[in-house]
Symmetry: C2
Subunit: 313 residues, 2 copies
């Protein structure tokens, strides 16, 4: 077993992660890197692997070498659900971040084998008690839920694209999930509110029992029936590549919850500390590199230091 | 004595507040209001008056009626240091906030009697142990410090104008103060850093033992020799007029510290809860109206609810 963050729980639950697997070319003010292992499922799975057993579902193409699978395996990630489609290459994305990282442009996108992807679950994944629906088409996210054979705690993530072109499918999906994670501009777009407190409350009325709105360098806010919780971001001074920060946040969040086999208000709040700390590592290097190499000890140190950063006394 | 927030301290210290007094015309997406009592000294003093005895220094013109002085007096504010200059009208500012309040334009500014203002202290103010230098020319802020006859804990606030046209005077001033309060864009401008964590650390190296960087709706970060503290903003859903939010924050912050007669790390952190809660009231109405009418009980309730909002368990 790869190194794990101790959860002090006797009953660690496994986690099912569904999402894209990609190769990315990323350009930032600090340089350019090609053919980076990326995609929501990769970041989510790496992040969650510090907390619990991860079952990964995604599709890879004929250019996806064993060396990449080995990187995932070496973090203990179960790859039974990763489909290899020999008919073409892996999903490809090329993007460029601008000065201050406050804007990014997609320069190229090639869906490749991802275009025909259907997230069909192996039988051994159908009773997993925690599920992370990473960003893919909301109808495919719903298709995953249709296959589950016992009740699960479900987190879903999305992006602005689906709000714009598949709003109804997205609204159907979020009625069926427990925790919806979304960033501030997307939350405002989906709810048509220009205040994120009002947006968060409105999102809860749309279905999910809990909502987390992410504000990037300004932290995140949880909306839950038992109250709200506002958490600042971990103070990063070496921002290099924000790609995958949101996926790492989601992966660590529900990974931590699964490791404690709990989903109450206090558990989600504590998991947000780990989620923020884990995501802070991702953004300090291109791709998954820093996230993969960090180790449980460094994540725990960041979570402890974040806890101190927000403590009044 | 007007109503106060209990500090559980046996030794409440008075606070000296120096700044502008103004009449403002404010235009927001919610409407327009003319001849509002404003200026840094007014907001700072009203906010601080919920915590301690306030001695106010500023200048008013021949148009400043007794009804305005009575509003200040009714909050127990000592006006011995307020100079009346009959040679002209009070400082006037007119500004317009845009959609989402993320930008404001100054439409008119008339310095009037403020142009020749020198903040000379009455003898009875020269040994006050806590001092708030609200935003005025940094040379005038230094002039206040020159008149102090015993050691005081000094907070200074500033605006981008002085960074741009009086950088050296500002750099001289901040070497002499204890706590520097500045917003995020100004901190980046003054330090030439584009990361606020690095900016905060650099500002401390420029003199002040502590620095607070304000991020508006995203909260504030304290940089202190004993560590950092990040506090989210109070979740405001009824933003009406942001004018004076920063001044209210500064006034409540050092007012709370004076009421506890302390300036250690934990005291500043706790005072930031009150500062954020007090400022959150200011922005819910035009001018000082909401701040004046709030009452100690409502501020205490917000501070309690903010404490809950940031508590992990």
């Amino acid at each position: 077993m790869s190194d794990r963050i101790n959860s002090d729980s006797s009953s660690v639950s496994p986690l099912l992660v569904v999402g894209s697997v990609a190769f990315d070319n990323v350009i930032t003010p600090y340089g350019e890197k090609e053919h980076i292992l990326g995609g929501a499922a990769s970041y989510c799975s790496f992040a969650a692997s510090y907390y619990t057993d991860v079952q990964m579902v995604g599709v890879i193409g004929n250019d996806f070498g064993d060396e990449y699978l080995d990187r995932l395996r070496s973090r203990g990630i179960d790859l039974e659900g990763v489909q290899k489609d020999e008919s073409g290459p892996t999903f490809f994305w090329k993007g460029k971040y601008h000065e201050n990282f406050n804007r990014r442009d997609t320069l190229d996108i090639q869906l490749n084998v991802f275009e025909k992807f259907r997230p069909d679950l192996p039988d051994s994944y159908k009773n997993t008690p925690f599920v992370l629906l990473g960003n893919i088409h909301p109808a495919l996210q719903s298709h995953v839920l249709d296959q589950l054979e016992s009740e699960a705690y479900v987190l879903a993530d999305t992006i602005d694209l689906w709000i714009e072109i598949e709003r109804n499918a997205l609204l159907d999906l979020i009625k069926r999930i427990n925790l919806f994670v979304i960033n501030d501009t997307e939350a405002e777009e989906l709810t048509e509110e220009n205040n994120i407190i009002l947006a968060g409350k409105k999102l809860r009325e749309m279905g999910p029992e809990s909502v987390i709105i992410k504000k990037g360098e300004h932290g995140a806010i949880l909306f839950h029936q038992d109250g709200m919780f506002a958490l600042p971001a971990y103070p990063v001074t070496e921002l290099r590549d924000p790609t995958g920060a949101g996926d790492s946040f989601a992966g660590a969040l529900i990974g931590r919850m699964a490791s404690r086999n709990a989903s109450d208000f206090n558990t989600i709040k504590e998991a947000m500390l780990y989620a923020t700390s884990t995501a802070s590592l991702t953004v300090e290097a291109f791709g998954c590199d820093r996230l993969e190499s960090a180790g449980a000890k460094e994540i725990q140190e960041r979570a402890d230091s974040l806890q101190k950063l927000i403590s009044v006394s």
